[in-house]
C-alpha cells in the first residue's frame, strides 16, 4: 500500500499496480490498523491500479463495512477496473466514482 494522505476530514489510501491476493494479504493488517485510527470518511484511490483480484474486492467490502457510517468511496480508477466493480455488482454499494 502506498503512503496515504489525510486531510482533517478524509483519509485517502492509494494502492499498488497489481492488487492480487498476495498484495492484499500483505497490506490488510496495516490497512485495518489505519482504518481503526481514522474517524472521518475513507477514500480508496485506485489511480495506477491495473489489476484487482477477488481478494481486493473482498478487502473493499470489508473496509466499506467498517467505515460506511462515516463515508466510504472508491475513486480514480481506469475503465478496466471500473468494469470489474460494475460486473461484480459492487459499484453502487462501494460508492465507486
Amino acid at each position: 500500500m502506498a503512503p496515504t494522505c489525510q486531510t482533517s476530514e478524509t483519509r485517502t489510501f492509494q494502492f499498488e499496480e497489481c492488487m492480487d491476493t498476495v498484495a492484499c494479504e500483505r497490506i490488510e493488517p496495516e490497512l485495518n490498523s489505519l482504518l481503526a485510527e481514522t474517524d472521518g470518511p475513507v477514500v480508496f484511490d485506485l489511480i495506477g491500479v491495473k489489476f484487482i483480484s477477488s481478494a481486493f474486492l473482498g478487502l473493499c467490502v470489508r473496509a466499506y463495512q467498517k467505515t460506511s457510517e462515516r463515508g466510504f468511496e472508491v475513486v480514480n480508477m481506469a475503465p478496466t477496473i471500473r468494469r470489474v466493480f460494475k460486473i461484480a455488482g459492487l459499484e453502487s454499494m462501494l460508492n465507486v466514482r
Binding site: S53, S54, G58, R83, V84, F85, I87, A88, L90
Partner: protein, 480 residues
Amino acid sequence: MLATAIDIESVVEEHFCLANAAAAVFSQYTQRQTNRIVRAVYEAAFHHRVHLARLAHEETGMGKWQDKVIKNVVASQLVYDDIKDMKTVGVIYEDPISGIVEIAQPMGPVLAIVPVTNPTSTAIFKILIALKTRNPVIISPSRKARQSTIEAARICYEAALDAGAPEHCIQWLPEGSRELTQAAMAHKSLALILATGGPGLVRSAYSSGTPTIGVGAGNVPVYIERTADVPFAVEQIMKSKCFDNGTICASEQAIVAERAIADAVCEEFCRRSARFLSKEEVEQLEQVAFDPQRGSMHPDIVGQPAAKIARMAGIEAPADTQLLIAPLGGVGDEWPLSCEILAPILAWYTADDFDEAVNLCIDLNFHGGMGHTASVFSNDDGRVKQFASLMNAGRIVVNTPSSQGAVGGLYNMLHPSLTLGCGTGGKNITTDNVTAYHLMNIQRIARRRENQRLMKLDRNLFYDESIDPASFSAAYNMNY
C-alpha cells in the same frame, strides 16, 4: 438437505454473489493467463480420469467404468486439444478489407447442468469451455451423481486456483435438487444455462428466462444400406451401442436394414453375442424398459448390461449377451421400444428398398429424436447424401459408431463435445457440437466501408413507387 425456500434462496444468492466477483476479476485476464488455467485444469482432469470414472460408476450404478474413463479422456484431452489454440480473449479476428474486428467478451456466470449418465465427463467438459472463455461456472449435479460430479469440479477448481484463476470461478450447488436448480436458473445474475439432461429439465431451463444452450433427446436411426460392409457395420454398431451400456444420447436406437442384406446383418449380430427377441420376449422387455407413466424409458434399465436387463424382463439369455434386439412392426407410441432407450437395446426393422428404409428412419427420427443424430452405413455417396438431406439431424455420421462419432474428435473432425445441439427440431438454438465458441459474446467493430453502389444511386428511385424490383436492381448494379 435444504429444507425451506429461504435456505434455497440464500444458497443461490451466495453462489451468484461469489460468481459475480469471479466474473469481474476474470474479465481482466489475458489470453495467456486464461490458457494457463485451462491447461492446468485439463491436466488435473486427465490425471484423475480413472478415479473419477470409477467414482461415477460406483455412485450411479450405470455403464462401465472403463468406458467412463474414455469419456473423461474425450472431455479432457480431446476437448483441450480442440480449444487450446482458440482465441477467446480480446481481438479474435481482424479483416482489414471488410473493416470488421471481432472482440471476445466473457458472458458471465454459467450454470452447468450435469446429467447422471455422463457426470464427470460433462462436468470436466463444461468447466474447460467456461474457463477458456473467462466465465465462472456453477455446476448443478444430478441427485444420483452428486458425489462424483462435485469431486470432478473440486479437482478442476483446485488446479485452476493453483494456476492463478479467480477465487470461486468454479462452484457447485450442494445438492442435486430440482428446486435448487430452478432457483439458480432464474437468478438475475446468471448469464447462460448449459442444460444437458432430459427434455423436462431442458424445457424448464428455457422457461427460466435465462439464455440457454440446451440439448434435445436422441432417437438415432441407423440405416444399413445395401452397399454397406455388413461385418464392419455390425462391429461398429456393437462397439457403439454397448459403449458405457448405451448411456450416450447419440447411441444407436434402431437398425433399419435393407432386405437384401438383412439376413447377413442378423447373422453378424448373433455372431457377436447380440440376442434377437421373439414377439413375446419383446412384450416382456417393454414391461421393464418402458415406463408408461413417464412416456419414456424406465430409469431402472438406463446404463445396465444387456444380460441383466434380460433377467429383469424374465428373458432367458446367455450371461455374455451384449445386446438385445427387438424386431418391431412399426414406429410410435404403440411400439414402446421404438423410443430412445439408453441401454443396450435396439429396435430392428427391415425395408425393401431405399425409399422404405428412409421413410422408417424419418419416422424414428421424428419420434422423439428430432435434430439429434442419424447414422448410415453405406458405400454409395449419393445415397448417403440423399439420406442426410432427408433427416432432421444435427449430425449424420457415416460408417461410424454413432456414440463415439457424434461426440466428435474420435472418428471425425466434429468438435469434441458432451453437449450436442439439436437445432430447432430439438428446440435448441444450434445444431453444433457445443464448445467454447458458444460461450463468448462477440463484439464487432465495423469500420466505415461505404456501399458505393448505394451511394451513387439516384435517391429519387427510393421513393418512385412505379419502379419494379428488376429495374431497381439494374440501376443498383449499373457499372458494378
